[in-house]
Symmetry: C2
Amino acid sequence: MALQQHRARVVVVGGGFGGLQVVRKLRRAAVEITLIDRQNFHLFQPLAYQVATGALSAAEIASPLRVIFKRQRNVRVLLAEATGFDLERRHVLVGRLPNDEDAATVDYDLLVVAGGSRYSYFGHDDWQRFAPELKSLDGALEIRSRILSAFEAAEVEQDVERRQAWLTFVVVGAGPTGVEMAGQIAELARDTLRRDFRAVDTRASRVLLLETADRVLTAFPPSLSKKAANALERLGVTPLVGHTLVDVAYDSVVVQTPIGAQQRIPARTVVWAAGVTGSALAAKLAAAAGADVDNAGRVTVGPQLALAGHPEVFAIGDMVRVRDSGGEILPLPGLAPVAMQEGRYVARVIRARLRGKDSPPFRYVDKGNLATIGRSKAVADVKGVHLSGFLAWITWLVVHLFYLIGFQNRLLVLLRWTFSYVTRGRGARLITVPPDIADEERTHDEPRKLTCA
Amino acid sequence: MALQQHRARVVVVGGGFGGLQVVRKLRRAAVEITLIDRQNFHLFQPLAYQVATGALSAAEIASPLRVIFKRQRNVRVLLAEATGFDLERRHVLVGRLPNDEDAATVDYDLLVVAGGSRYSYFGHDDWQRFAPELKSLDGALEIRSRILSAFEAAEVEQDVERRQAWLTFVVVGAGPTGVEMAGQIAELARDTLRRDFRAVDTRASRVLLLETADRVLTAFPPSLSKKAANALERLGVTPLVGHTLVDVAYDSVVVQTPIGAQQRIPARTVVWAAGVTGSALAAKLAAAAGADVDNAGRVTVGPQLALAGHPEVFAIGDMVRVRDSGGEILPLPGLAPVAMQEGRYVARVIRARLRGKDSPPFRYVDKGNLATIGRSKAVADVKGVHLSGFLAWITWLVVHLFYLIGFQNRLLVLLRWTFSYVTRGRGARLITVPPDIADEERTHDEPRKLTCA
């Protein structure tokens, strides 16, 4: 492909783990980069569950994109939502601009789309209302408000069954996020909140971890799944493996048990951490190229992570599946390290192209897999070496602090973790999102007299 | 008044500065306390303006009420909104409970209402939409999103006049909050954001501080007002004293100048920090007692801070005016120290009553007045000693850290302030609230091509 005489215009859509690496690794290249994101910050999504349980505050895991690239003068940041792609005219369509203009186009010579993924509700988008997800900061803050409000509700609820429904928390999906979330809710109920309430014993809470597969953490070796399940149970989580969610309502879930029976479980708080699907940008990009997405909503890219027939259009991260030169799909998990390696790779391909050179195909280097369960408990699978317990937990802490962006945030998070470890407290327990329960779903009782318990 | 045989039931409405002191100072009294608040946290409102400018994150100035009173076993916290008072039956009506019940009543033997104040829009409640206020955490987070979005808008705006409107910030009211807010916006524009944008020069921002009176900080001596005005001007703020706001729209304000002329100033961001009025609870309490509120929306209490004819009903803080035994209104400013002293006083009165003793009337001890303007700049009036500059600023820092609740928050805030001082950065610059501009007010241009500046 012939690059124009002017400095090549590289447009990167998405400031997640992949997008950031592309931009960073082009810092010395003779290109003009436009980074488009609909939010003004990069979210360190692996710690979103800690915001959802009040262990960290939102700003501590979110770094403004303009701060990250303050000193990188060949990039400009555009706060807008990419709404489509015109691969013929080589421009990205963006929706409403910050100054209220309706739309604009951004021309590119090279395009990198890194839109990430979102949770799929298995075709039941109506479930989202009752079961918010953990991918976004908004979702995490809503979950935080719901969990904390449920304990407040239990404190004033006098009916025993209804109280237990307020104290029942269902986490759907036992991947790393679901496991971490369930563990945190259990710790919150058993440790943090234990002495904060007067009428209710928060230790009576039930945390159910629903998983369709026959074990938790299916991406890990079975022996570590077993250790994780045991650690979860000791924390007070009930892993329900082989259980499939059939329905969610405002006050209960219906699950299908391993023997095929359906069971309704009264529960007022449901957290969604199951099944991801490619960002809507994947479908838009595929459509622009006359292609389709796969059943996980991902667009297919070739060995150099570019679209077939469009070597100038790259796509990376959770929203893609990679087909190697032999036509095989590479088995890449939807994890930050994959997106980061893909981002660095695409930056290398672009730098090579600017020098008229070709690049070898993308290869993923698996550095291991980590999941934390709770205080001093984690599992790690590092190149076949299996770790669990305290050592795995310290590894998890160090890795997450290392990848968190910004020295200030690292220090603040380390400080909060130290406090939480010592005091078993959680410093950011704010209810900030008002409950969203439709009026027809509310119980209508006579005003009652609240008496001291 | 004859107290019942059971432990006296004390109901405190409002977990602000005054309410917290009442509860704390009753920790060893033989009473059962119910603290009712519609939010689950105490907000350190004097630092809300730092959340509004991204210097601090929300959780750092908000402490969960249950954490504050974890170890005080004679208090229970009820997360609900007080909606009315029945002084005959001696109960407080509360609205929707956390478990979705519609309403309830809470009986009291002794009642303390500490509802605080809110900003008054001088009868123009429709202005609130364009000019959010700084009393609440929601307001602070909305202002943060608006200020940061305005710079984003300026970055993509190509029309010179419209760009200047995005870069014009109007702060209404030059009390301590308005002065602090204007100073922070100026520092944000001049220092923090200077190198973050590519197309726009944020130093071209204008920060207008509107004040109807003839000087800023009218609660301070004129010499300190003068020093504050000079410091503000050096920071890049334009104090417009003797200017009265006449109208606010989505894209401009109209002010009446000292010579009586009306002037329209294009400005996309307006922050409200003028004119407070008693909380809605003041009017409800007054109505329950068959009394009226004054023109600042405050209920009148006697020398012991109790309602006339109701020695068992106290009201404190910004929502009251105090009439001494001679019938004179005490000249008390609407500040946290007043509310705190009133709270401690009421706790003393209650403890004395439980022992059958009477109490001397409330007396306010004025410990001084502090306002910060910006980096190393503040004014202080401490018992007639006037301080300004660095020494006043350090005093301000120490006092605010001291009154902030919780060791963890003190440490986190100190850390953020140190970072901001050294790097001139602001760590919590997140746009989290979507802009609320009605469609008919938006500009409708043809999609344009965004080019690198």
